[in-house]
Subunit: 331 residues, 2 copies
């Protein structure tokens, strides 16, 4: 029997926060008291949890000594300001932002891949990886363990909900404007996302990659605890509301056949595999679902130890909220 714990959700009114509350309820996470928190602007509003209405409190006024676990599903600047304070008060903080992910004494955890890393976090902070990384490493973990992975070449198809409600609003508004014969207005993205695909997520780095692309390298290495693995990513925003898709091309250390990979993935935690000519898509499988869906597994005919996979998951759930809850469940 699990002992109830007191928890805080910082960013409770956002897209990921809403999903996180829903997941806590559905998974019957053993909660004593739940404190939904947000920035000053959203404080005073209410959220629903298990048919209760709870008033959202201001994160800046909250005493984190009252909780055992605090999830931060906020923008990076809010995490930078408040995560260290919450951790200092003794709460285990699970942070969804990229603020602390690359610090050596902050574990970066995907429960299906490196649960051991979550034990006794030195600073009381555990980081939740980037959405595009999580679904990829969940799909690749069984293959990595069986035959090793030397190189990953990945192109992504990422949903606008990766930018939270503002991303969803931007796409909805632009589609509506175009339907009414208007020019799409630009608020969030520098170029229209409606009926377009945009190879630009997060800021550009000196080497020509975007930060989103570099995250897939940095985080894959940290999660697999393997600085030899090579990752080449092109990350692209697409006009999809929920669900990231990825064309993943890997080069393994030892040869693995598609059939062997399918068998491994059939038994892998958190994975649902499609064989034959059936495949998952964001709309049919990615939105609102927990698993990482993997299909189109085939030999890469351009490399003697190459394998291709098509990986789909709900970026808000497995890519953020669900993974964050699963991290807490490790305790």
């Amino acid at each position: 029997m699990k002992k109830p714990v007191n928890v805080a959700v910082v960013g409770a009114t956002g897209v990921v926060g809403t999903a996180l509350l829903d997941i806590l309820a559905k998974r019957q996470f053993p909660i004593g008291t739940l404190y939904p928190l947000a920035s000053h602007r959203s404080a005073g509003s209410t959220i629903s949890f298990k048919d209760q209405k709870i008033v959202v409190e201001d994160v800046a006024q909250f005493d984190f000594a009252k909780v055992d676990i605090a999830w931060f599903v906020t923008r990076r600047s809010v995490a930078a300001d408040h995560v260290p304070l919450a951790a200092a008060k003794g709460a285990i903080v699970i942070d969804n932002s990229s603020q602390f992910r690359y610090e050596n004494d902050v574990p970066l955890v995907v429960p299906e891949v490196n649960p051991q890393a979550a034990k006794q976090p030195p600073r009381n902070i555990i980081a939740n990886p980037n959405c595009s990384t999580i679904q990829m490493v969940v799909a690749l973990k069984p293959i990595y363990d069986a035959v090793g992975i030397e190189r990953i070449n990945v192109a992504t198809y990422q949903a606008v909900s990766g930018n939270g409600r503002t991303g969803v609003d931007e796409l909805s508004r632009q589609v509506d404007e175009i339907a009414h014969g208007k020019k799409p207005s630009l608020e969030l993205y520098p170029t229209p996302i409606a009926f377009n695909v945009v190879p630009h997520i997060d800021v550009f780095q000196e080497n020509g990659y975007t930060r989103e692309e570099m995250k897939m390298l940095w985080e894959t290495r940290k999660i697999f605890n393997d600085d030899n693995i090579k990752v080449n990513a092109t990350t692209v925003r697409v006009p999809v509301m929920y669900g990231h898709s990825e064309a993943v091309h890997i080069e393994t250390r030892d040869k693995i056949t598609p059939q062997q990979a399918i068998e491994l993935l059939r038994n892998a935690p958190g994975v649902k595999v499609f064989a034959g000519n059936d495949y998952p898509t964001a709309v049919t499988h990615g939105a609102g679902a927990d698993p990482v869906f993997v299909g189109r597994i085939r030999e890469d005919i351009s490399h003697p130890r190459g394998l291709n996979l098509w990986v789909v998951a709900d970026n808000v759930r497995k890519g953020a909220a669900l993974n964050a809850v699963q991290i807490a469940e490790l305790f």
Copy 2:
């Protein structure tokens, strides 16, 4: 001074046919008489050409001895039936379908890449490559010539107009249905394309690739006349009306820096290159434009001789109609 030639456009009422007529007019192709043709169903309708209305004739009734050049921009079955008859009557046939592309005595031509292949076609038939291949080989040709290319790893983001008007109609209708709270109806594609991405173009092959993916291998080899080049493609339909985008990752024989590649592409025919953090997209550059746009050129940090490029072009124009007109201009 060019001598006027009599021409036929088979499939003149379709998306590619309409673009082809527009391009013929804009480029002042030296036409004597223009015969727009279509299947029995569309015969009798009219098309516009240089402010003239011309009645569309039935391809099955037409005598191809009357023309010097016949473009076929029809479905594959129509090409299979009528291309050989037209060629036998002495017309040079430029066929946009995949029906004859892989036959040894049918040249497959991209004028910027292998114009010499178009000379004296043995069967009077020249094939126009697949849209996704054309834009890729135009972008890669200068690099191929300079340093060689051993392997191409490509993930595509392909517009619905690749399926002609039925593709554009399917996406429009589904977006409208969703806006009105309805479930998207499926007519052309097996899964919704609105707000989704679908890794399935053309039919599945025994090796798990789709035919669209294999086309990128078969056609790249034939156009470069190089059976050693390796191509690994994942082709994906996206909810974009016009303009294909491609994340192209190449491994060259000799090392080339991004700056060297940018310089080569600046001087390449049919290419417009973006340097720095600027990049093309389907909506801002791909739709209605002639060039192949290349951006996001950066070193592939996962391979000592790797280079990444983002390639965008109008799939209906450079990917089909424009390339077909450029082939005729070689004569």
